[in-house]
Subunit: 343 residues, 2 copies
DNA sequence: GTGAAAGCGCTAACAG
DNA sequence: CTGTTAGCGCTTTCAC
């Protein structure tokens, strides 16, 4: 077990001070080209590995950002994490990952840990029912930049990057109307979550624009997971309140609907059509694949990361920003009434 | 921007030394029940958040482990990460995540970063062509425990947790034989990777046991991703060298085969049957779903984490261990020749 | 039980 | 350009 070598070891060997070594290794302009080369060569020859813990303590920067997501084994978040991860790597930042598992308390704990680890910033997509509003304020007061993505809190004093939730939902529902549907239901997300609320708004707006009255029998509010879609469908089905088409608040919800429908022999899209907000790698393997509102993951992740970076670099004099990433309607094998009709 | 409060602030407020506060907060037996309660109450009232950077520097422990995987947006690794993540959380460890993207150099960089961050240990699944053998030795010499999982290096002086690769492959191929196939091909992984090599061994052994001669026309070596499966199938197809059934080294490879087959009008499982090592959430949505060798993700992740933990706690006097996680054959809608025959 | 002293390895600020 | 001084906030002896 070799003792790990320090700045001092290099300094002694070269008969310079450890400050000089430190500067040389960090390419500080103070040090001459020659010295630097010399020092670096000795460092690598000795197998020097800087101690970031010490560096971070003294510099009060960690070049580490915390990323908190509600789930990870989910194509949407896995993809985003991978993208954020790439951005971080390119910019020489490290990532501490945490998963809240939709649990507000765990989320809180992770945030505390990240503060303790002195991350330079946090990117977070909050849990379904996050109750950490006050804690986000504490973080802010400490001067730690925080960027909310996808699932945000409502306070406008926090930077956020979201999808164009309302607009995307609007486009989806409008397409359903265009395709001849008028009995349009919505398996919606919790209204206290921005994505639930805004997609619901888009849904309502599209109906309104076409003069269709909202039938509350066809609207159910719950979570964003597969099970929520499954349960909601089953409820509507049992109560015999199925519309012609359901607009699902997320892809997993649509997946749950599809699974439930299959189970009780409701054919999609013949007996019940669906469309949803959000795509997945899985979609192309579904039968039928689901027409959906989609987005560019890389663009989304980069926006969040760059916003955080900007905020980190700006320090106090940063004004919060709220970015919205454009969404597109992607037509696949559902939401196709006209097509069926003309066959 | 509030100044962050330190041990000292609490100490002053209570007129004790910061050592006492430090001990109380860490439940050190030195401190009396009363004092501890008092101190903790003041700490929380002041909104004290410990500075792990300082703590880590002085204690030389970080309660952080590094996890390196080749990819993340892949059901196998996403699931494992989530499971490892859960273990870590339960045991009060933090995770630094890194993705090598199958790139040996990135892998190396990540390892260095983790050493610099002074992680207490590393769990890694190496890149397809990792050339960091010497670096793993450096890590070991530094006394940093490292556990390889799934994709390991061959050196026996490193702890590892793998699936029962040879045995699983054997079972899969034997099932193909049982079902009446004799022309059995293998889209194999690189032979220099343990999973490629061992699954290939299982394949050969199953053939041998039944007295079937291996036909090298039907065996192709490449990587572990979807594209590799796609390309391999295309090659065999163009050269008109397709067997009756292909055993794919991983699920993504099988997926690639399926996609390619569809493209050129080869029906699976009628014209060409398949079976593979490894399952995926996606599998149930495939048509046909693929019979495969599967495992228990939680068991796998826990084994890796616990082994690392054991190693961390044991310090120098730890002897390397090599665990193998049992695999099972899961029959779905492929590898069904007999079923077809008897129809 | 409590605390004073020493230092983890590094960097910031300043002086030469 | 180079080096000295002084910590960063905490834990670890070890003495009381």
């Amino acid at each position: 077990m070799t003792k790990s070598i320090t700045l001092n070891d290099i300094a002694i060997k070269l008969n310079v001070s450890k400050v000089t070594v430190s500067k040389a290794l960090r390419n500080h302009p103070d040090i001459s080209e020659n010295r630097r080369r010399e020092i670096k060569s000795v460092a690598s020859q000795l197998g020097y590995i800087p101690n970031f813990v010490a560096r971070n303590l003294s510099s009060k920067k960690t070049r580490t950002i915390g990323v908190i997501v509600p789930v990870i084994a989910n194509s949407f978040f896995a993809d985003i994490i991978e993208s954020i991860y790439n951005c971080a790597f390119k910019n020489d930042y490290n990532i501490i990952l945490a998963v809240s598992q939709e649990d507000s308390e765990k989320e809180r704990k992770h945030l505390e840990t990240m503060l303790s680890m002195r991350v330079d910033g946090v990117i977070i997509s909050i849990a379904e029912h996050s109750e950490n509003k006050d804690f986000f304020n504490i973080i802010k007061k400490r001067g730690i930049p925080i960027v909310f993505f996808d699932r945000t809190i409502d306070e406008k004093e926090f930077s956020s990057v979201t999808l164009s939730n309302k607009d995307g939902a609007f486009k989806a529902v409008q397409k359903a109307i265009e395709n001849g549907y008028s009995k349009i239901g919505h398996i919606a997300g919790w209204k206290d979550s921005n994505i639930g609320r805004d997609r619901y708004r888009g849904y309502k707006q599209a109906l309104k624009k076409s003069g269709i009255k909202l039938n509350s029998d066809w609207v159910l509010f719950s979570g964003f997971g597969k099970k929520d879609g499954y349960d909601s469908f089953m409820k509507m089905h049992q109560e015999n309140k199925l519309p012609e088409i359901l607009f699902a608040v997320t892809f997993p919800v649509a997946l749950g609907i599809q699974e439930a429908a299959k189970e009780v022999g409701v054919n999609i899209p013949k007996d019940l059509d669906i469309i949803c907000f959000g795509d997945s790698k899985l979609n192309d393997y579904l039968n039928p694949s689901i027409s959906c509102v989609t987005h560019n993951t890389t663009e989304f992740a980069e926006a969040a990361f760059n916003l955080l970076l900007k905020q980190i670099n700006a320090g106090d004099k940063f004004a919060d920003e709220h970015l919205e990433i454009e969404t597109k309607l992607l037509l696949k094998e559902t939401c196709i009434k006209n097509i069926k009709d003309t066959k």
